[in-house]
Symmetry: C2
Subunit: 300 residues, 2 copies
């Protein structure tokens, strides 16, 4: 089955676990709104690609790992869009959850998605119960304190923070969890896969910083220039646009080198390369390099 279709079906099945005729209908609608339609689903695709590279002997468990990673990502977006954080009215080209359903349901949807991510993983673990505990710890470490997404967002609430630590927690940790969980779901040691996840995660955050400056709001589906408006740490602010692009390229080259020699290596390299073009199109890179030598600043 096509990986993208496999992910959408697994997400839908997981959401159905949290649905019932006896449950509050607006919570259900808001939860679906937070998950569908999705973005690029890069984290679950990465998770499944690594599981496949490791033999994928328990596809249902790999699906549940990929679903957990994506649901936790969606939860972080819903809470990150809240008025007290980014106050974003748009997400993935549609109204954000709080804009469409109100702030209270947005808080609850995030909570429900976090619980569902772990519940769905546990409910699938009868296929390979001995793998559950370590897999769950891996996923939790990607999202919780002290080093996961929650910690990353919490660095935005500190007077002082280190850019690399912030990016590693806010974005890198869940990418590293995606690769590690893919390996663990297939019964493999995650260590060989952590570097790929780390580098991709960092590249993704750098790309997000570049896009924040460069992108067309319609194409990106969310308001841009928010890092500057929110005085948030950003590679593009720290390194300059051209410096950030050079850093992005280095990180992706490192990600490709970090792919272990295995049956899935070619597919993983292709995935990394297509993400590279999707995240920071070559057409942008030319514009940025041209602008570097031009007398006037770039206008997006």
């Amino acid at each position: 089955m096509d990986a993208q279709l496999r992910i959408e079906q697994a997400l839908d099945a997981a959401l159905r676990l949290g649905e019932s005729k006896a449950a509050p209908p607006r919570l259900q609608a808001a939860t679906r709104h937070a998950v569908f339609p999705g973005g690029a689903r890069i984290r679950p695709r990465l998770c499944l690609a690594v599981a496949w590279a490791c033999g994928d002997d328990q596809p249902a468990l790999a699906d549940a790992a990929a679903v957990a990673i994506e649901l936790l990502h969606c939860a972080s977006l819903v809470h990150d869009d809240l008025p007290c954080f980014d106050d974003a009215a748009l997400r993935r080209g549609q109204a954000s959850v709080h804009a469409a359903f109100g702030e209270r349901l947005a808080v609850l949807v995030g909570d429900a998605l976090i619980v569902l991510a772990f519940r769905n993983l546990a409910a699938t673990a009868h296929h390979a119960p001995e793998r559950l505990a370590r897999l769950l710890v891996t996923v939790a470490d990607g999202v919780g304190a002290p080093m996961g997404i929650v910690a990353g967002q919490a660095w935005e609430c500190e007077a002082k923070a280190d850019l690399e630590t912030y990016q590693q927690a806010k974005t890198g940790a869940l990418f590293a969890a995606a690769t590690a969980a893919g390996a663990q779901a297939a019964g493999h040691d995650p260590d060989a896969w952590l570097e790929l996840g780390d580098r991709l995660g960092e590249a993704y955050q750098v790309a997000d910083d570049i896009r924040d400056v460069m992108a067309d709001p319609v194409w990106l589906g969310k308001p841009t220039g928010r890092d500057e408006a929110l005085d948030r740490m950003s590679s593009a602010r720290e390194l300059g646009l051209a410096g950030a692009v050079a850093h992005f390229d280095e990180l992706l080259a490192g990600a490709v080198r970090a792919i272990p020699d295995c049956r899935g290596a070619a597919a993983l390299r292709a995935l990394v390369r297509s993400e590279s073009e999707r995240l920071v199109p070559k057409s942008w890179v030319s514009r940025i390099r041209a602008a570097q030598t031009a007398p006037t600043p770039i206008s997006a």
Copy 2:
């Protein structure tokens, strides 16, 4: 070891899992603030009492189950106190998390506690890995959609809701999870323990409704009369104060009858009776009954 001490130590050890010198310090402080000092810790005490009644052959796993239940309860309080919900400045006699640390950290603390609850459970499961999946599903069902705390809070966002369904989700479900998880942590079937949890949970919600009308704000540690102010469903509003007290008494009698014949039965009966007095002191009952025949309404 004394159950109360065992719970505080286990909570402290779990929080330390989410702490690090490399983590955002205000998130750590806010997370501790959400968990310490605690309230009555009735849910984890109930969980451990049932585990003990079932033999408590894996005390570390029972501790982790009790900790998960309490951390999830704390998370729900932190999010319930947010400005968009109850906007409560006080909790357990001190500033609520959002009042002390701001709204953003309050959202993140709730998220971090949910993740930590499951992570800590998984990290302890090497003691009895075959028990983890079902135990985790039980705990998740007490807190998530469609029937747990999140669903209960979401009923407050619906135009119409049934009082019993609302109370069962908002309070009953986590009590039922506490008894069931206690049994499962000790390797027992949870079914015999669900009724005790259900009845106690409902009694606790009814007591909360009574206290909302009756209690001295200083004693309760949070602002009272909020159900009425927020136009929230309440047994005291639906049945009247005397009717709510009679319902509470019936529920507790049912809870005592639902305790299975086992080595822990006497201790569980004592726990239920001491909770009864703590929740709705006999002195209140006399005041309410006297007021029922008096010409003027009760003033708290």
